[in-house]
Symmetry: C2
Subunit: 143 residues, 2 copies
């Protein structure tokens, strides 16, 4: 399937909230964020719900409700965001179990799993290098 855009949307949303708060507002609504992201507010709420459970964002309910960051942008890495949205595996093993009576069919699963674990570890190391503060800086410099 197509790669998913959740990390992009989540980083966008959190960065937007961070900037909005720095400009003096207390909370941001899912509708405001959705306008910047150009999507439906429910998509934003769904994502922020996960980020909330992971302790990256918080919400206030009732009138004057909205979202706020739970930590400063500089204290949130893209790895934090990535883990929060429960990523699926980058590579999958066989859909149907390969023939266990064949030497290759029997041993290929563990062999590839070891490689894939290494790949995902490298991916996490790479995402951990960038904080949302870095992202915001790039965003503002581009303007």
């Amino acid at each position: 399937m197509s790669a998913n855009s959740r990390l992009t949307i989540a980083a966008h949303a959190l960065t937007w909230i961070g900037l909005y708060q720095r400009r003096g507002h207390e909370v941001a609504t899912s509708e405001q964020i959705a306008t910047s992201v150009n999507t439906n507010p429910v998509v934003i709420r769904r994502l922020l719900a996960k980020l909330g459970k992971a302790g990256l964002a918080g919400s206030r309910r009732g009138a004057g409700a909205g979202w706020m960051l739970a930590r400063d942008l500089a204290a949130i890495t893209l790895l934090d965001v990535h883990q929060a949205i429960e990523p699926g595996p980058v590579f999958a093993l066989h859909r149907a179990t390969p023939n266990p009576e064949c030497v290759v069919g029997h041993g290929i699963g563990p062999a590839m799993t070891a490689v894939y674990d290494g790949v995902e570890a490298a991916l996490r190391r790479e995402l951990a290098k960038t904080t949302l503060e870095d992202v915001l800086r790039d965003v503002l410099q581009a303007a």
Copy 2:
């Protein structure tokens, strides 16, 4: 998405061909490989066609037809295989263009693209570390 299993299947197929050739056979048929992978021969042929175009495998047609490796297992890395099967991106940007009148909406694309390029480079470096010879060694040791 579901992650895709093409790299797994391709590595399995090439490793199988390599082992089969070492045991004295000239070519392997897609049906034999499919039996080990536990899938349909067409799936194997589709994949091997791409690996062939990338110069990793070759086929002989007609009677007594089948597939052979174009290089030794030790000379094929998982990165070679990965590139051969034309991988999609690991992460996607927004499906709909974000609001360009918003600072964040305008700058987030390039910012995330830079990060994602770094991630994919790390992924490629990691895959380049393992050759199919390594995979075969692991497979045989597991038996």
